[in-house]
């Protein structure tokens, strides 16, 4: 009665083959990550030293370190976060806690998708036209960071909205029924319970912001400045632009040096991602209801 027919066996075989094929495809897709990171480590590691990290480039970028670019990237990221996190969190709170299901809300969602989908070079054109020229900031950390902020805004909004919506509706209703206003409910119950999810999104945004090149090329990044930025209206070097510059524009740069820069950049970005992922895993284990 319960013996496999030929048909059963054939479909079982089909299934095994399908599984193997899909597994192979997945492996083909993720193997390059490991290859890339491996290659960068092998070829870039010899360049890394305290001196490399903490001195400025010398001899037309063919020697020396990356200190001004590292500090520049920190400036860009911090200013971009200061601009985008408050706006992004507010937008997410609106969408999750207030927005009715209407045309405006659909338009906002569409705008967010598009903000994430517009090519980075178009963001660069916008940043140049709007911040550098129209608002007369000139090429500066401020203009570059604001461009980055607009571009990465969807990352904050989407992550925040998700963690807000993970807070069960029953908690809100319980607060409202005690006479709490919407805002009191958000501040006392909803936000405290989603803050870690928001943080995960912010860390992810740091990683995105640190790696972007096109949006800062014309808005504030420069190939070489001898001094560290003193304020948001200065131009600055940045890791990503530095890599682009020494890989394509500068001449006679030793290969080891370029790989070193690429290694540091990818290390920053992947470390941020790893923190974000670890945080998320930790949160999943932390059951609060």
């Amino acid at each position: 009665m319960f013996t496999a027919t030929r048909l059963n066996r054939r479909s079982y075989r089909t299934e095994s083959v399908a599984k193997a094929v899909f597994c192979l495809m997945t492996v083909v897709l993720v193997i390059p990550v490991l290859l890339i990171v491996g290659t960068l480590v092998v070829k870039g590691a010899p360049a890394i030293s305290w001196e490399f990290l903490f001195t400025a480039p010398t001899d037309n970028m063919t020697a020396g370190g990356i200190f001004p670019a590292l500090i520049g990237t920190v400036w860009l990221v911090v200013v971009a976060l200061l601009a985008s996190v408050p706006v992004g969190v507010a937008a997410a709170v609106y969408l999750s806690e207030y927005a009715p299901d209407n045309l405006l809300t659909r338009t906002i969602n569409l705008a967010i998708i598009n903000l994430a989908g517009v090519p980075s070079i178009v963001h660069a054109l916008f940043g140049f036209g709007a911040f550098v020229l129209f608002f007369d900031m000139g090429p500066s950390i401020l203009a570059a960071s604001l461009t980055l902020a607009v571009m990465t805004l969807p990352v904050v909004i989407v992550a925040t909205r998700e963690s807000l919506q993970a807070v069960p509706q029953a908690f809100r209703e319980a607060c409202w029924n005690m006479g709490a206003t919407r805002w009191q409910t958000i501040r006392k119950v909803v936000l405290p319970n989603s803050i870690s999810g928001i943080l995960t999104g912010v860390i992810l945004e740091v990683s995105r912001t640190a790696g972007e090149t096109a949006p800062i090329m014309f808005t504030g990044a420069t190939a070489f400045v001898a001094f560290l930025p003193g304020g948001v209206l200065d131009q600055t070097m940045a890791m990503s632009y530095h890599l682009y510059y020494i890989a394509t524009q500068a001449t006679d740069v030793p290969e080891e040096l370029t790989f070193g820069v690429a290694l540091v950049l990818i290390a920053i970005v992947l470390a941020m991602n790893a923190v974000s992922i670890a945080f998320r895993v930790y949160l999943r284990g932390l059951k609060k209801w």
Partner: protein
């Protein structure tokens, strides 16, 4: 008191909410503003779409963008050829076959793939893929459609994999259980139940992948060879729309025709990605309605 705080908070978060609309409209307004003089003046649509002569700096400048459009299309097309089957396959494996730790590891690796900055991809194209392609295929130049297409394929894969996986996961387990209870194998369930039910989501995933590839700038700039050319084989160098803006904007005179022409390319990029995203959104909305 609390009531007034509530009102003020409502206004503030509403302002945050509409900021996304303000920015997307702002992007369109500002690039149009800078490109308008060119569109109304030197631009000839016929030349723009049919000529391959992009010579904005010559004494008698011409603005034929055909080679740039074809360049972008060929690289994106090549990338999709590689990336669509791999991404959908990976999404199926992660969503339907992989379990537990394997699944988590694969998802993390896909996220890492998405995290690698585009300038690093471009650098890999120049420093690793370029010599590799020259040696393997015995061609004079390794910065070409093949190189940029491979890189772009890998770059567009994570977004496709993630969204396709979400679409597959959105198919209720009750469908799967019902089919399995009738004696279908997992593979039959996937082909006959899961894929048809998530068709729209998979289509949206592919569209967003296309949008991602189409708009990529740094990697294409560095790995495609940046030569104005109508490619006849994957080993030809090409030049993309995005790369042209990135490479030339720094050398233009503000407000000049060359300047305006680059913003016009920007308008084209904006409109095309907008249409792609809008279509993907409508396609996804289609499933929710059902």
């Amino acid at each position: 008191m609390a009531w007034y705080v509530d009102r003020v908070a409502r206004v503030l978060v509403f302002a945050g909410g509409i900021s996304a609309i303000v920015f997307i409209v702002g992007i369109f307004v500002f690039i149009t503003k800078e490109g308008l003089d060119f569109v109304l003046g030197p631009l000839s649509l016929g030349e723009f779409f049919t000529s391959i002569a992009w010579r904005p700096t010559s004494n008698n400048p011409t603005y034929g963008a055909l080679a740039l459009i074809v360049g972008t299309a060929s690289v994106t097309g090549f990338a999709m050829l590689l990336s669509v089957p791999l991404s959908l396959g990976a999404a199926l494996f992660i969503a339907e076959f992989a379990t537990g730790r394997t699944r988590e590891t694969l998802k993390v690796l896909v996220e890492m793939l998405a995290a690698i900055p585009s300038v690093v991809w471009g650098f890999i194209g120049m420093s690793i893929m370029n010599p590799l392609i020259i040696r393997t295929f015995d061609v004079p130049v390794g910065l070409n459609v093949l190189n940029a297409g491979l890189i772009l394929g890998l770059m567009a894969a994570p977004i496709m994999t993630t969204i396709a996986e979400d679409a597959l996961k959105a198919v209720p387990d009750t469908y799967r259980e019902a089919a399995e209870a009738l004696g279908a194998t997992r593979w039959e369930v996937i082909v006959k139940v899961v894929i048809p039910a998530s068709r729209n989501g998979l289509l949206a995933a592919v569209l967003l992948g296309v949008g991602r590839g189409f708009g990529e700038t740094m990697a294409v700039l560095m790995a495609s060879g940046h030569a104005i050319n109508l490619p006849t084989s994957p080993f030809d160098s090409v030049r993309a729309l995005t790369a042209t803006i990135a490479a030339e904007l720094g050398d233009t005179v503000k407000g000049g025709a060359h300047w305006g022409s680059l913003f016009t390319l920007g308008i084209l990029l904006f409109v095309v990605t907008f249409v792609i995203n809008l279509t993907a959104d409508i396609v996804v909305r289609g499933i929710r309605k059902k």
